[in-house]
């Protein structure tokens, strides 16, 4: 480790952290949404993240090399996979009143199968998004040692992630559907009594959550030149996503956003301090401290599910 002056908090490193954090935040949103509404930890979320990125790659290679198309494909494929996941892995267990643990294990099984399918499809090769999909060019703010260089690709990633967060917050807070989702999150039985179609709400929740996860997958590839998509990219974010939702408060949307950015910045700062080998460990150390100090997370204050 080498100790630099407080230049270690230099603007470029913070900006790097923000870009990384935006992906973690977007990914964690889907995680936290499903947990909030259904009390299920959907481990297959990372697998959907990866499969949607592959789907976007495949469409870009075969048809159109357009970033907007790629984002839409990732969202659509992700969303549909999420709905399918619910129908196959969670709904039968829900019907039988099985314990939460069964749903968790079921999602692990689906995640493993999806990873295996991706491994076979790609022959363990890393695929790269075609150059035309990724925006080119960069610009530099400031000059000298305080200069910050930002690529357009990363800017687009940040913009899309923020758009997703804003859209979701609006949906949950301001629309009727969002009210229904919050009602189901509070108490499914009471919501059913009020005439809310539980299964429909759950299906839409999964669609939205997994669509966000899929877009996060595509953006994860776009962010780092030369835009790699590989069967194991889910494993890079799944634990971090879990850390984010615990840090921010499970079931809290603003919590995921703040937690995601915090985690991204702490990871980059660890590298900046010269301990890049610990760049995975330090964020988890922070998480651990958070659990000791405030177990419900930064924004978490949920009462127990009324059932």
């Amino acid at each position: 480790m080498h100790w630099q002056t407080f230049a270690v908090l230099d603007a470029q490193q913070v900006v790097n952290g923000i870009f990384l954090g935006s992906i973690y935040a977007l990914f964690a949103l889907g995680y936290t949404l499903v947990f909030g509404v259904l009390d299920i930890l959907n481990v297959a979320h990372a697998a959907i993240f990866m499969v949607a990125a592959f789907a976007a790659w495949w469409v870009a290679e075969a048809y159109g090399q357009n970033l907007l198309v790629a984002v839409l494909v990732a969202a659509l494929v992700g969303g549909l996979l999420g709905v399918l996941l619910d129908r196959i892995a969670f709904w039968p267990l829900r019907r039988q009143g099985a314990p939460q643990l069964s749903a968790l294990i079921s999602s692990i099984a689906v995640a493993t199968m999806l990873e295996g399918a991706a491994l076979a499809f790609s022959h363990t090769e890393t695929k790269y998004l075609p150059a035309a999909v990724v925006p080119d060019g960069r610009f530099t703010l400031g000059s000298g040692t305080g200069a910050v260089t930002i690529t357009f690709a990363k800017l687009v990633v940040l913009g899309t992630a923020l758009l997703g967060m804003v859209a979701l917050t609006y949906l949950v807070q301001r629309t009727r559907l969002g009210r229904e989702m919050r009602a189901v999150a509070e108490s499914p039985k009471a919501a059913a009594l009020l005439g809310i179609n539980i299964e429909r709400v759950i299906m839409i929740t999964f669609f939205i959550a997994s669509a966000l996860g899929g877009v996060a997958g595509l953006l994860f590839a776009v962010k780092d030149a030369p835009s790699p998509v590989s069967y194991d990219m889910g494993s890079k974010v799944e634990l971090k996503g879990l850390a984010v939702i615990i840090l921010g408060g499970m079931g809290s949307i603003p919590g995921s956003v703040v937690g995601g950015f915090l985690l991204g910045i702490s990871e980059v700062l660890t590298i900046a301090l010269g301990a890049s080998g610990y760049s995975d460990a330090i964020p988890f150390a922070i998480l651990f401290l958070m659990l000791l100090v405030r177990p419900s997370g930064l924004f978490g204050s949920r009462a127990r599910r009324a059932g």
Binding site: Q13, N16, T124, P226, I271, S276
Partner: protein, 450 residues
Amino acid sequence: MSRIARKFGFYLVALLLCSLALAACDNNATTATTAPTNTPMVVGATNTSAISGGMGNATAEPNCTVTASGKVCSTFSTVATALSGDGMPMTGTGGMGGGQTGTAKIGAILSLSGAAAPYGTSQKNGLEMARDDINAMAGGLKLELDIQDDASKADQAGQVMQKLVSAKSVLVIGPTLSNGAFTADPIAQQAGIPVLAISNTADKISGKNGIGEYIFRASLSERQAIPPTIKAAKAKLNFSKAALLFGDDDAFTKSGAEVFKQALADNGVQIVATETYKKGATDFSGQISNIKAAAPDVIVVSGLIAEAIPVVKQMRDAGVTLPIIGGNGFNNPRLFSKEKGAGDAAENVIVGAAWNIASDNPKSADFITRYQAKFGSNPDQFAAQAYTGLHVAYFGIKNAKSMSGADVAAALRTVSYNSVMGAFKFNADQDPDMAAVVQIVQGGKFAIYK
């Protein structure tokens, strides 16, 4: 009592059946090596098990006929004679006695899938082309190549080596990665089976000062290639401060980093920043920012191709225009590929190598033409080293007193062969006694650095 006896009997029978099955498998392996030359065997028969890299490089079967002295392939027979008749002897000299005939089983451990697949697929091409050329030569000794995939994983390399050793291979080529070699080679050393590395470049692999006297190298080590590269670059670019970036979880990248450190120190260059990353990393923005902040004159990277590509691209994206010097991991044309590599960002990257496509060695031009015809793309250093390596192995076995490990190893030590990379022989460390060529990426290919 009878119930216990029945249970016991059941397990006994199961045990007997298993041992019979194992014995049968072992027998099949040994009969293969003792088959006579005239059986129309093996040319073109490779076992590419496990997942292939999906590269889809089909090797075209040449027109071959079985003659009294074995298969003669018409596509190659004229060329084979041309090669041996052009004044450059195709024979390998050395070794006392020798003149082995028959079929020698040669195992090869290559990374055909996983992160090192770009190297492994090149090597497979080089080996297969060499095998076809060798088996088309007269001389009575044929090679049967058994290519196995280690998926770029060290433990899988070890398992595959065990398999090849148990199958009584005469010699094993590979594995692709030094990381795999440290796990796999000791197994062969223990069993007394010679190993010829065709791409290992880390320290302490070959010879008595390495893993053992059965381990040989046809690839130029980092210790041989890096010092002249740094020297040539310093003479031209005159840098005094360097930043070093390397992977700290791989034997090759770590060894390369040590060699770089020493070469830089020997040339009076101060290392102002040292950054590391782990295999599979895709985001290097943190390390790059640190390097920028330290204000070096040159950036030195010891990495494998999977990380080299994003490093180079992200460096340029971050506005870093300093020269980049890479280790042997950069020696892959994918580095400057536009679809799968760093594209234009790789321009002016400097790498030391054992062989360059612009080499003026007369055998090199012929090798390139035939490789292009057979595989539809240009060969790279890994293909050239594989092609050379199998020939060296061939002459080692041919000139050996017997096909036993000790005799083959003894014969290998005295092999002298004119390869596409120049005159080849082993030095005291059982490494190639050759000079490195310093390259620079220019116009989307590796050019000679002048």
